[in-house]
């Protein structure tokens, strides 16, 4: 079936799939692009005039910094590089469908991997703020009977995030593939704008926003105490 993920090569028993290879390509593009656009930042003096590219890069980085700082508060500033990386990766990963590359986010392994990191960040922040005993005690609040529900609520967070992103991207991909089969020339243009551009950016934003909100909720509890 066309939607199955191809194995590109094998490292012994380990299959290297299309998702992993496409992620590597995105990583190379992002890292090499970053190295190129930040060349002048490493050599320029503080009073030097910057070029247009540098100003745009600065605007993006500063904008991300302000946005994440405002959403997560003062204590969330340390998460700015990770959240920014996540947002940039998701935007590029969701948009690569436009150039005919299979989006890595159209694979549950990717979205669940990202959600796992978010889950670890949430729980790590919780444990750090309340201490291990306080963290465990949190599952029995407001009363002990709530423990199963609290546990399910915590565990379901990464799954809901992972499936939301995966479902949206794979859904868009399936619809686009079907459209190409039915009307291959002019018709797919507008759906491309919606499913790849609009939906891709929105889903990247939602995933990042949820990560910020969940992590900052754990930090806020820390601040309250």
């Amino acid at each position: 079936m066309e939607f199955d993920i191809k194995t590109i090569f094998r490292l012994g028993p380990i299959p290297i799939t299309e998702t992993v290879v496409n992620t590597w390509i995105i990583m190379v593009v992002l890292v090499v692009g970053s190295m190129i656009v930040t060349r002048r930042f490493r050599t320029a003096g503080p009073g030097d005039k910057l070029g247009t590219t540098e100003l745009v890069v600065e605007m993006i980085v500063d904008g991300l910094d302000s946005f994440i700082g405002e959403t997560m508060g003062k204590k969330g500033r340390k998460f700015v590089p990770y959240i920014s990386t996540l947002l940039l990766f998701l935007v590029v990963a969701n948009l690569v469908g436009l150039v005919g590359v299979r989006p890595p986010t159209a694979d549950l392994n990717t979205t669940l991997g990202l959600a796992t990191i978010t889950f670890i960040l949430i729980q790590g922040s919780g444990i750090r703020s309340k201490g291990i005993l306080g963290y465990i005690k949190g599952f029995f609040e407001p009363f002990p009977l709530m423990f199963p529900l609290n546990l399910i609520s915590e565990i379901s967070t990464p799954f809901s995030m992972a499936f939301r992103l995966f479902g949206n991207i794979i859904g868009g991909m399936i619809i686009m593939t079907l459209l190409y089969m039915v009307a291959p020339i002019v018709v797919p243009v507008i759906p491309h704008v919606y499913f790849d551009l609009f939906s891709g950016i929105i889903q990247a934003f939602i995933f990042t926003m949820l990560t910020m909100v969940f992590v900052s909720m754990a930090i806020d509890e820390e601040e309250e105490e």
């Binding site: 799939t17 590597w24 890069v57 590089p81 990766f89 549950l108 392994n109 796992t116």
Partner: protein, 163 residues
């Protein structure tokens, strides 16, 4: 499509590697640059503020000096006016004194001239009187005795006793 496998672990590793690389090559340099420029700008602002404060201080100093100079100039003008007034009074006084002395001298001269004139007139009158008397009595009298009589008569006339 929805089965989990090695890819899951690869993707976690990929994202973490990407995070470190992006921090190293994008967010680090740009944030450092922004921070460096912020410090540089703050330094410039601080420098401008200190220059401004210094300028204010200099301006206050200059204004104080100007006020002092004005005060000194005013004092000099007042002193000059006082001096001028004193000089004017002195000159006026001197002129007044000189004038008075001149007047006094003139009066004295007039007085002397008057006395001299009176004396001369008196002498003339005496001579005339002698001549008249000679003519009347056709007799020569002793001039000295005659003169004495006339002097006496004139003296009495001066005293207001006319016989």
């Amino acid at each position: 499509m929805i089965e989990l496998g090695w890819t899951y672990f690869f993707q976690i590793a990929n994202i973490l590697i990407l995070y470190f690389l992006m921090r190293r090559y994008l967010f680090g340099p740009v944030t450092n640059f922004i921070e460096k420029r912020r410090e540089y700008t703050e330094g410039l602002i601080e420098e401008a503020n200190s220059s401004f404060a210094k300028a204010k201080e200099l301006q206050a100093q200059a204004e104080a000096e100007l006020t002092e100079a004005r005060r000194q100039a005013q004092a000099s003008v007042e002193q000059a006016v006082e001096h001028g007034k004193a000089m004017s009074e002195e000159i006026t006084d001197r002129a007044r004194r000189e004038e008075a002395a001149r007047l006094e001298r003139a009066q004295r001269e007039i007085e002397e001239a008057k006395v001299r004139a009176i004396h001369e007139v008196r002498q003339e009158v005496a001579n005339l009187s002698v001549q008249i008397a000679e003519r009347i009595v056709e007799q020569s009298l002793d001039v000295d005795a005659h003169m004495h009589l006339i002097e006496d008569a004139l003296q009495r006339m001066d005293d207001g006793h006319v016989n």
